[in-house]
C-alpha cells in the first residue's frame, strides 16, 4: 500500500485571502472592527443599534416641539433616549456613550465647555471613584479565606445552613463595601465548595446554583443597605441635593441625606430580604446533597493552612472601620466622596495595596460614565425635560388611579425594575432619577420616598446576568446558565417588590419626613 503524506496529499492550508486588508487586520481587534466594515456586513449588523439610536435621535430632533417642552428640553430628552438605547444594547463600548453625552451637551445645547466639564465632577462621582478604589484594596487583602473559615465554623455542614451563612456574610459585607467587592471575594469560596463536593459539574448543578446565587443575591439585596453599597445610592443622594436643596433654607435640609438616614430607611429592607433569599433558592433548586460534609471538611483544611490573622489584616480591618466611621459622622461636613478618596489614599499610604493594582482593577470608564450620566440628569432638570416627562407620566397613570400613593409607588417600582434588568443598576438610577423625582413633585409625593423606591427597586435586577455587578461576576465562573436567573429571579422580584411596598407604607412614615 502506498504511503501518503498528510501534509502533501491531504487537506491544504491556504494563505489567507487578499493581502492588504489582512495586513491591517493583524494590527488588532479595535481596528479589525473598523476594517471589517469595508469587507463585509458584520460590522453594521453588530453595531446596528448604534445606527438605530442615532436615527431615532435625528428623528426626535426634527419633530415639531410638543407642547410644554422647550427646544433645549427636547435636545436633552433626545440625548437621554439615545443614551438609554445604547446602554441597553451596548453596540459600542459604554464609556463611548459618556463621551458622546459630553460632546452632545456642548455641541447641541451650546453650553460652555468649561461649564460642562465642571458639571462632570461632583461629590457623588468622587464617592463612586473612591469606593471603587477601596473595593480593589479590600479584595487585595485576601481576607476571603478567613471569612470562609468563619462561615463554615459557625454553620456546620448542612447545605441550607452553609448557604444561609454565605448569604448573610455576603450581604452584611456588601452593604458596606459594595456588592461587586463581595462577589469578587466570595466567588472563590463558593466555587471551591462546589468543586470539593464533586468534580463532575453535572452532579452538582443545583448545589452550584444555591451556593452561587446565595453569594450574588445576598450581595445584591444588600447593595441598597447603605450609601456605600453601590454607585446608584450615591447617584440618588446627589440628585436629591442637586434638585431640592437650597443652601440656607432649613426646610430643604432634609434633602441632604446622610449615611445614617439612608441606613434607617433601607437597611431594614435588606435584613428582611436576607432570609427570604435562602428560602426562595431552596424552593427553586433542590440541591443534590443535603450535607456538604466532604467539601466543608476539605475547605476547613485548606483555610486552616493560612494561619492566624496577620497584623496587616487587622490593620486593613481597622482602617476600614475608620472609613466607615468617617462616612457616618464626617460626611455631612466634608462630603462622602472626600471620605472615600481619603480612605483610598490611606490604604495606599499604609502600603496595603499597590497603585498598579488599583489602576488595573478599577474600570475608570465607569467613573466617566456615571459622571456624564449625572451631568445629563442635571440638564434634564434645568431644561424642564424631566418636568415634562413627569407630567405626561402622571397623566398616563391618572386613568388607572395610579397617580398618587401606593399606586404611584408600585408603578415607579415596576418601571425601575424593568429598566434595571436591561442595564446596569447605576445607569438605571442615573437615567430614571431626574424623572421620578419630578414625578414626585408633580404628584405631591415626598421626593425622598420616591427616590428610595427607585434606588431600592434598582436592586431588583435578578432576572438577567447584566443586571447587577454581583450577578455578572458570579456568572463568569461558568457554573450558572442564563436560564437559571430567570427561573429563580421572577420569584425574587415579586417578593422583593411586595416587601418594599409594605415597608414603604408602614415603616417609612414612622421616620417622619
Amino acid at each position: 500500500m502506498t504511503q501518503f503524506s498528510l501534509v502533501r496529499d491531504s487537506l491544504q492550508a491556504h494563505e489567507p485571502a487578499s493581502a492588504w486588508s489582512m495586513r491591517l487586520r493583524r494590527r488588532g481587534y479595535q481596528r479589525l472592527l473598523i476594517i471589517r466594515s469595508q469587507i463585509n456586513l458584520y460590522y453594521f449588523w453588530e453595531t446596528r443599534w448604534f445606527f438605530i439610536a442615532m436615527a431615532v435621535g435625528a428623528v426626535m430632533l426634527s419633530l415639531p416641539l410638543p407642547e410644554g417642552l422647550s427646544r433645549d428640553g427636547m435636545i436633552v430628552l433626545t440625548m437621554s433616549v439615545v443614551a438609554t438605547i445604547l446602554f441597553v444594547t451596548e453596540p459600542v463600548p459604554l464609556p463611548t456613550v459618556a463621551l458622546l453625552m459630553v460632546v452632545g451637551q456642548i455641541l447641541l445645547l451650546g453650553l460652555n465647555s468649561t461649564t460642562v466639564a465642571k458639571s462632570l465632577m461632583t461629590d457623588s462621582v468622587l464617592f463612586i471613584m473612591g469606593s471603587l478604589m477601596l473595593a480593589v484594596a479590600v479584595v487585595k487583602q485576601k481576607l476571603d479565606k478567613r471569612i470562609a473559615w468563619m462561615i463554615v465554623r459557625v454553620t456546620g455542614t448542612r447545605t441550607v445552613m452553609v448557604c444561609l451563612g454565605i448569604a448573610v456574610v455576603s450581604g452584611v459585607l456588601a452593604s458596606f463595601i459594595g456588592e461587586h467587592t463581595v462577589a469578587a471575594m466570595m466567588l472563590p469560596v463558593g466555587v471551591t465548595l462546589i468543586r470539593l463536593t464533586s468534580e463532575d459539574k453535572k452532579r452538582v448543578r443545583n448545589v452550584a446554583a444555591v451556593l452561587l446565587f446565595s453569594i450574588c443575591y445576598g450581595a445584591s439585596v444588600a447593595g441598597i443597605g447603605t450609601p456605600s453599597g453601590g454607585a446608584r445610592n450615591a447617584i440618588m443622594i446627589g440628585y436629591w441635593r442637586d434638585f431640592f436643596y437650597v443652601p440656607g433654607d432649613p426646610d430643604t435640609q432634609q434633602f441632604l441625606v446622610d449615611y445614617l438616614t439612608w441606613m434607617a430607611y433601607a437597611y431594614p429592607i435588606f435584613l428582611l430580604q436576607l432570609p427570604l433569599v435562602t428560602l426562595i433558592l431552596f424552593t427553586t433548586f433542590k440541591p443534590e446533597y443535603k450535607r456538604l460534609s466532604r467539601g466543608v471538611a476539605k475547605l476547613r483544611a485548606q483555610v486552616r493552612a493560612e494561619g492566624p490573622m496577620a497584623p496587616a489584616d487587622w490593620m486593613a480591618i481597622f482602617l476600614f472601620f475608620l472609613i466607615l466611621l468617617g462616612w457616618i459622622f464626617a460626611s455631612e461636613a466634608i462630603g462622602m466622596g472626600t471620605v472615600a478618596i481619603f480612605g483610598a489614599a490611606v490604604f495606599l499610604i499604609a502600603g496595603l495595596v499597590k497603585w498598579e493594582d488599583v489602576n488595573t482593577g478599577v474600570n475608570w470608564g465607569v467613573v466617566l460614565l456615571y459622571a456624564a450620566a449625572i451631568s445629563l440628569g442635571v440638564q434634564m432638570k434645568d431644561t424642564g425635560a424631566a418636568q415634562w416627562i413627569a407630567q405626561n407620566f402622571i397623566n398616563m397613570l391618572t386613568p388607572i388611579g395610579a397617580d398618587h400613593g401606593m399606586g404611584l409607588w408600585a408603578a415607579i417600582s415596576i418601571l425601575t425594575t424593568g429598566v434595571t434588568n436591561t442595564m446596569s443598576n447605576g445607569a438605571a438610577v442615573a437615567v430614571l432619577g431626574p424623572i421620578v423625582l419630578k414625578v414626585a413633585v408633580v404628584a405631591g409625593e415626598s421626593p425622598i420616598f420616591i427616590g428610595f423606591i427607585t434606588a431600592v427597586s434598582s436592586a431588583f435586577a435578578y432576572l438577567t446576568v447584566v443586571g447587577t455587578p454581583a450577578c455578572t461576576i458570579v456568572f463568569a465562573a461558568g457554573y450558572l446558565k442564563t436560564g437559571d436567573f430567570l427561573r429563580v429571579g421572577w420569584r425574587m422580584v415579586i417578593v422583593s417588590t411586595v416587601l418594599l411596598l409594605i415597608v414603604a407604607a408602614t415603616y417609612w412614615p414612622l421616620l417622619g419626613v
Binding site: F4, P95, E179, V367
Partner: protein
C-alpha cells in the same frame, strides 16, 4: 524599514515556511460535548509525527460596566489565588487530558508558556506549548476577542492551518441571513480559507462518505479526503446524487472513474453509491450511516453562494453527523 524589522519579517517568513511543512489542526473547544467530539477526531487523524494539534478557546472581552466598575480581572486573580481556573482554561485542560488519554503526549515533552498583551483586555492571550523530541507539538491557546468567530479567524491568520475543527451549533441561519448574521460555527465555516470540520455527537456509523459532483474540483477534494480517511484508519465510500433518473448512467461513470482514481492511490473504496433526488436530502440520509460526510464547496464568494446556493453548506448545516468541508 529598519534592520530589526526586516529580521523579524524574515523570522516570520521562516516560521510560516516551517509551518507549511506540518499538518496543523486547529481544534476549537468551547466546553460543549460536540467540540470534544471534534477533538477526539483530531486525535484520530493527528497521530503521525507531522501533525500539530492546536486547541483554541476564545473568550469575550471583559465588560467593565456590568461589574459595577470593578474589573473582572480582580475577581479572576482572586480565583487564581484559590487555584481555581477560569472556565476557558478548564475546557482546554479537559481537552488536553483527552489527548493524553488517546496516547498523544509523553512525559519527556518540552514545555513552553507565553503570553501576549491584547489591547482592551487586562489578561490578554495565553499560550502553552508542549513539544516532543520529534518536533510534534500540542498547543493550548486561550484567546480574547470581541466574538468567538472573529477570534478563530484571526487565529488562522497567525499561522495557516490545514483544517479547523468546530463543534456544531444548534441553529443554522438561512442563506440570506448568513450574509450578516451567522452563528460562530457557520461564520467560521463560511469565511475560513481552509477546510473545516463540523462535528456532531450523533455520528454512530463508521467510515467516511465522500460526495462527488463530477467536477475537477470535487475529484481533487475527494482524493485529499481519502488520504485523510486512510490516516484515520476509516474506510471510504463515494456518493453522487442525480436530479433526474436519466442522468444515472453519466454520473455512474463519473463515480466509477473517481473510485478508480482513489483505488489507484492504493486506498480501497468500500462502496460507490448513486442516488436520485434532492442532493442535500439524499446525502444526509445516506450519510447517517457513516461517521463523517465529506463535501467540497468550490470556494464560491459569499455573494455567489447566495445566488447559486450551495449543497455543501446545506449539508453542513442540516446533517445529523459530522461534516468535513474540503477547500
Amino acid at each position: 524599514m529598519s534592520k530589526e524589522e526586516r529580521q523579524a519579517q524574515e523570522q516570520q517568513r521562516a516560521l510560516r515556511e516551517w509551518r507549511r511543512n506540518r499538518f496543523r489542526i486547529l481544534a476549537c473547544v468551547d466546553g460543549s460535548d460536540e467540540s470534544y467530539e471534534g477533538l477526539r477526531y483530531a486525535a484520530e487523524i493527528g497521530r503521525s509525527d507531522e501533525c500539530d494539534i492546536i486547541l483554541l478557546h476564545v473568550r469575550p472581552f471583559d465588560q467593565g460596566l456590568r461589574t459595577g466598575g470593578l474589573q473582572m480581572s480582580v475577581a479572576r486573580e482572586n480565583m487564581l489565588e484559590w487555584d481555581i481556573e477560569m472556565p476557558g482554561v478548564e475546557c482546554l485542560k479537559k481537552g488536553l487530558e483527552l489527548l493524553i488519554e488517546a496516547g498523544h503526549m509523553q512525559k519527556d515533552w518540552e514545555f513552553m508558556a507565553s503570553r501576549s498583551e491584547v489591547r482592551g483586555d487586562p489578561v490578554g492571550d495565553n499560550k502553552i506549548e508542549y513539544r516532543s523530541k520529534t518536533g510534534k507539538s500540542i498547543i493550548l491557546k486561550l484567546k480574547t476577542a470581541p466574538d468567538a468567530a472573529s477570534g478563530i479567524l484571526d487565529q488562522y491568520e497567525l499561522g495557516p492551518y490545514n483544517v479547523i475543527i468546530l463543534g456544531a451549533q444548534h441553529r443554522w441561519q438561512g442563506d440570506l441571513r448568513s450574509l450578516w448574521d451567522a452563528g460562530v460555527t457557520q461564520k467560521v465555516a463560511m469565511l475560513a480559507p481552509c477546510s473545516t470540520l463540523v462535528t456532531r455527537k450523533l455520528g454512530k456509523g463508521k467510515g467516511c462518505l465522500i460526495c462527488i459532483d463530477g467536477s475537477e474540483h470535487s475529484l481533487g477534494a475527494a482524493r485529499r479526503a481519502a488520504v485523510l480517511a486512510q490516516h484515520a484508519g476509516s474506510p471510504v465510500a463515494l456518493i453522487s446524487v442525480v436530479l433526474k433518473d436519466e442522468d444515472r448512467k453519466v454520473v455512474g461513470a463519473q463515480v466509477d472513474a473517481a473510485k478508480a482514481a482513489i483505488e489507484s492511490m492504493g486506498i480501497p473504496v468500500s462502496e460507490a453509491i448513486v442516488r436520485a433526488g434532492d442532493p442535500v436530502e439524499q446525502i444526509i440520509r445516506v450519510g447517517a450511516r457513516y461517521q463523517l460526510i465529506v463535501v467540497s464547496d468550490s470556494g464560491k464568494s459569499r455573494i455567489k453562494r447566495f445566488v447559486v446556493g450551495s449543497v455543501a453548506f446545506k449539508v453542513m448545516g442540516h446533517a445529523t453527523n459530522s461534516v468535513l468541508n474540503v477547500r
